[in-house]
Symmetry: C2
Subunit: 255 residues, 2 copies
Amino acid sequence: MTDSKYQILFNNLEDASLAVGVNCVLFTVTENKLKILITSLHPKLEKLLPGGVILNNETAEAAAHRILKEITGVEDVFLQQFKTFSEPKRFNYQLDPETIKILNINFPYHVKFPERVFSIGYFALINFDQILRTGGVMRENNLWIEFKQLPKLAYDNNLIATEALEALRKELFIKPIGYNLLPEKFTMPELQRIYEIILDKPLTRSNFQRKMLSWGIYERLEERKEGVSHKRPFLYRFNKEKYDRAVKNGISFWI
Amino acid sequence: MTDSKYQILFNNLEDASLAVGVNCVLFTVTENKLKILITSLHPKLEKLLPGGVILNNETAEAAAHRILKEITGVEDVFLQQFKTFSEPKRFNYQLDPETIKILNINFPYHVKFPERVFSIGYFALINFDQILRTGGVMRENNLWIEFKQLPKLAYDNNLIATEALEALRKELFIKPIGYNLLPEKFTMPELQRIYEIILDKPLTRSNFQRKMLSWGIYERLEERKEGVSHKRPFLYRFNKEKYDRAVKNGISFWI
DNA sequence: GAACATTGTATCAATATGATACAATGAAGT
DNA sequence: ACTTCATTGTATCATATTGATACAATGTTC
């Protein structure tokens, strides 16, 4: 036996030839940059998107939530499925002796990894300031990396990340989801920065505000933002009732 | 042994607890109605969306193409993945004695069906007139059913169909895909009918044409449609080069 | 109290959209 | 041969939306 904290990850491997997992591309905006979370089993091992196998009695979405919580400690994240990756050879993990040594685990050689792993891709949005730092076993190997500076990730994880951003950008034009990257109360200039950073292009301020407010789903609060050295902007809040009503009336969101 | 033609469907079942399949919602427009293909193992058994398990060395998309060809005989269909269905109990098939009798098959009782089956959903578009009637084993059980008249299907197949239509409608506003339901050469009024039937609402003729032509991806041919008892409309053809150029320039398609 | 940055909002030209109109045209009917 | 008819291509115009610019308002900082 070993007391490696990584042992738990390898104890419950089923001897199956097939597995279905999820991968989450968790976006956040901080320091005026679009970043995603990447992780790894160990600093010396390759970088990965958060992910894992779907358990027996779990939907894919539940698995994505569970894994995001296990690895990062975050809960109640906005999640959206965007594509399932099915290349037969996309996942080809083998535990080599070097890795076993790094992780300090006992690996029973009669257990084999699945020959094929499908991955259901989710993109997730979270406000950086709200991240709870109570993550799971791999917490210390988590890294927020600017999307533009993404290193080589394992398997097809770079492809998954790229397609996640495409899906996110496409969805930005169809549904108001950008507010998920902000605190509950936010200003229009803050929302504009989110759009600009995700789309990677400047938007005209007055026209952006007019558009956002025309949807009638952001409710303006009495308060204004405090502590700014200029005119204080209004605070807004996403209003789910207004949103549901707008969707029912067939609204089309568009920039 | 038996000479039932259905035997082949059950001979290669692996003794696995998990499987990943695809389901295809194949749309067509005929008789001014939006229809999809449903099938069944036998007229007395429940109705299904075309689908099947993904083979070992096959991508999901290849499986969708293969299955559409096997079941319906159609090739070169426009396919788009839209969602993966992962409810743990969504697929709960058991071969009961009645079914075995109807199909006249030998079913080895030590073989079990997978306890859980994931399904990657695709919607597909095809021009009704181009369907080759050289389909596979279940050809005679295929039915084109008007979407509005859909009967109860097995498992979660009604949900899959519903979400497929939502995905198709959403995509109509984002990419020009409606032409896949028409022959290579088509007129603007024909294209308009496709949109109207899918969206289930009338569109204004002159504005529709203006919009479609503004994208600059349909090339007008010299010929006009023959044999109509009124002014002959121009024929158009989808131009892939123009389309790729437009996408590269960041065009947004919209109605 | 002046300088400064940024905000809410107004304005106007350019563009896009919705609604309507009308001449053109080919087959069918007389 | 002529009329009728349905449908097409295209024009037009009122309205709505968008892009660009301007300006007064308002906190903090100096």
